[in-house]
Symmetry: C2
Subunit: 180 residues, 2 copies
């Protein structure tokens, strides 16, 4: 038996496994003492990057298979062998925009769906970057990179144009910091 | 065949089903023309509420089964039969804090994990609320309600104390609006 705060876990069943996700059903005792199950999903941690070039934020416009056209900060999932999220952040920024090197600053991590998955999204900012050639993945060939003033990006969050939750949180944090 | 922007879907397999989630594997053609699969999860839409009482934000402190102790705005998943997210927002706020009635304002919706699920988190704010008795669910008996000045809540986001991504985005939006 495993104790997690006021919860107890008595067993675990693996419901399905794919290269992208694993779904589990845990047999538990809830905080009020009643028996039950907790179904959850394991996916890799992710990253989002606030990359500033000439005082403008790099924003990706892309058609997402599940959600349609979205504006989002550069980023993606940590790959096997990437131990530090900054490695993922630097790889994803270079793949999607071509920008590399520069100065990198961590801004903590968020839980995008704490009821469904323990996965986190690690937040980074970068400036002083060097331009280069992007190398988009097979699902990203329609990707466009926009250079947007930070205040306009914050307005795009409020207007519902940037709907990726971790991107929205990082844009608003950067806009409020007054540093850029 | 279904067309979604530059993606094509040729088939779908249901991998596993529980009362809380369904996992699917879609057979697809990627934007670059290569064949592949897209694994994704269906869960209900969710809500988060920025509820202001005497100029302070109601923040929930609670042990989450997957992520440990978290600060988060009141909210949760839409239940069957709830057609409008404001009904969910009002139910969750009353269950978790006792506060009800009042004036409600929509602030759009975010995609918490657009690569994994099309589910959205609908954002609401509320003020002019009437206090009452909470009715926590079996997993929420350890829940504490804190009344926090909006600026302190924004600082709690920056300090990594509020890590729920949709909560963080809504707190920063409210703090930047200057209306409260």
């Amino acid at each position: 038996m495993e104790t997690r705060g006021p919860w107890r876990r008595h067993g675990r069943e693996q419901l399905c496994t794919t290269p992208r996700l694993v779904a589990y059903r845990d047999e538990i005792t809830l905080p009020d003492g009643s028996p039950g199950h907790y179904d959850w999903v394991q996916v890799p941690d992710m990253v989002r990057v606030a990359a500033l070039v000439d005082g403008r934020l790099l924003v990706i416009e892309q058609y997402h298979y599940l959600t349609g056209t979205m504006w989002q900060l550069p980023g993606g999932s940590m790959e096997p062998g990437e131990r530090d999220s900054v490695a993922t952040a630097q790889r994803e920024l270079a793949e999607e925009t071509g920008y590399r090197e520069g100065r990198w600053t961590p801004h903590g991590a968020l839980h995008p769906m704490p009821g469904l998955t323990p996965a986190r999204v690690h937040l980074w900012s970068a400036d002083g970057l060097t331009p280069g050639y992007p190398s988009p993945e097979p699902g990203e060939t329609d990707l466009k990179v926009r250079h947007i003033p930070l205040d306009d990006a914050a307005r795009a969050v409020r207007a519902g144009r940037i709907t990726c939750a971790p991107s929205a949180a990082l844009v608003l944090r950067m806009a409020a910091s007054g540093e850029y």
